[in-house]
C-alpha cells in the first residue's frame, strides 16, 4: 500500500516537475527595469531599431534630453539647448559605447525617431527655433 502511494506520489511529483519545466521553457522572462537615458530623458515612441553585424545584434535607441549637462534647456544664453541623443545597445540592453548628441549643441531638438537599414542608422527629429 505504501509503495503504491509512494509510486503515485512520485508520479505526481514527476508530472509536476515536467509541467513546471515545460512552462519555464515556454515562458518569457523579463529582466528588471533599468534606466535607459539621462535624468529628464524622454521619448515619444519610434525610439528603437535593431541591426545585426555578423552574429552580433545591436539595438539603436534615441531619446531627448532637456537637461543636457545637468542644466535645464532654455533659450537664454546660459541655458543648454535640448539634446537629441543616440545610444547603441547590445541585444541585452546594455550600453555599447557612450551616448552621442546628434543635433547641434546650439539648437533645440525634439520628437526623435530612429531607423536602420544594413549598416546605416537614420535619426530624424524636429529642430525647434525656440524651446517654449
Amino acid at each position: 500500500m505504501r509503495r503504491r502511494i509512494s509510486t503515485g506520489t512520485t508520479a505526481a511529483a514527476m508530472g509536476l516537475v515536467l509541467l513546471i519545466s515545460a512552462q519555464a521553457a515556454a515562458a518569457v522572462t523579463w529582466g528588471a527595469a533599468k534606466s535607459a537615458s539621462a535624468p529628464h530623458g524622454f521619448n515619444t515612441g519610434r525610439a528603437l531599431a535593431t541591426t545585426k553585424q555578423g552574429s552580433t545584434t545591436y539595438v539603436h535607441q534615441v531619446y531627448v534630453n532637456n537637461y543636457p549637462g545637468a542644466h535645464p534647456a532654455g533659450d537664454n544664453p546660459g541655458n543648454p539647448r535640448e539634446a537629441v541623443m543616440y545610444q547603441r545597445r547590445t541585444a541585452a540592453g546594455a550600453a555599447s559605447g557612450a551616448a552621442v548628441r546628434v543635433n547641434k549643441s546650439t539648437e533645440h531638438g525634439n520628437g526623435s525617431s530612429v531607423a536602420v537599414a544594413g549598416s546605416h542608422v537614420y535619426v530624424a527629429w524636429t529642430h525647434l527655433a525656440k524651446y517654449f
Binding site: 524622454f42 519610434r46 545597445r89 541585452a92 531607423a115 537614420y122
Partner: protein
Amino acid sequence: MWSAIKSLTTSGEIDDPSVAASGSYVYIAYTNSLTGALKLQISSDFGAHFHDSGLSMTAITTSTCTNYCAYPSVAAAASNVGMAGLSGDTFTVSAWTSINHAASKADFTLTSGDAVGNPRVAALGNRIAFALPTCGGGCATAGIKAKVWQGGTLGPDRTAASYTTSSTYKRSYTADVGLSGTTGLGLAWNACRKAGCATDESPAAGSDMVWRESTDDGLSWKSPFTLQTSTGTTATGKQRRVNAYASIVFASATKRVVVFDAYNGPFNQGSVLLRVGSGAP
C-alpha cells in the same frame, strides 16, 4: 561616423517625425502643424536626396484636420511600406500600404470615431503591422487593436485588450507594435487605471506599461505582462506614476526590448526605462 545634418524642411511648423528605412530607401513622415497635413518624404539613395511623395491619406485631409492631424508612423521592409496617422477632428485613424516603395498605395481606415491615441506601424519581411488604442462611447469601452497586412492582403482586426469603466484598466493612449519571425507579433501600451488617465497618490494609481504578444499574428494572445506598475509606493515607485510611449523591437526570435517614459508630473522630468524579455512565448 555620422553624416552632416540634412534639413528636410526650411519653414513652417513640423512635428512628430517618424523615420523608416529599407535597402537604399529612407522614408520620413511628419506633420505640417500649420496646414494639418501629414507628409511623407522619400529618399532612394541612402538619404542623400529626398522628395515629397505627394501621398496623402484618403480619410485624413486638411478638412478633417482643422483641430489637428498628427502622429504619423511609417515602417518599411523590402519594398513594402506602411503608414498611419490620426485625424483629431474625426478621430479616424487612416493608413495605407504599398508594395513598391510607396510609388502607389492602398488606403484603408483602421478605426473611425473611436481613436484616442497614436497609431504605430512595424514592418518585417512581407508583413506590416498596425496597432492603436481605441476608445468608444466616451471610453466606456476601450482597448488595443492590431491589424496585420501580409503580401498585399489586409488581415482582420485583432484585439489585444478590452477595457470597460469597471475593469482594472480603463483606457490607453499610446501603443507600439513589433514583428518577429513569420507570425510573431508584440505590443506594448500604456494602461490607465483611472478614467481620464489621471494619476492619484492615495490610493496610488496612474498608467501602467503592459506587454502582450502573439505567435499567430494576433489570432490568439499570450497572457499580458505588466512591464511597469504605476502603483508603487517607494520613492522610486512614486516617480513612475505615468508609464507611456513605448518603443519595442525584437532583437531576435527570443529577445524583445522595450523602452518607455516613466515620470510623475511633467513628462520631461522623468527618464526612459528599458526592459528586456528573453525566451519563447
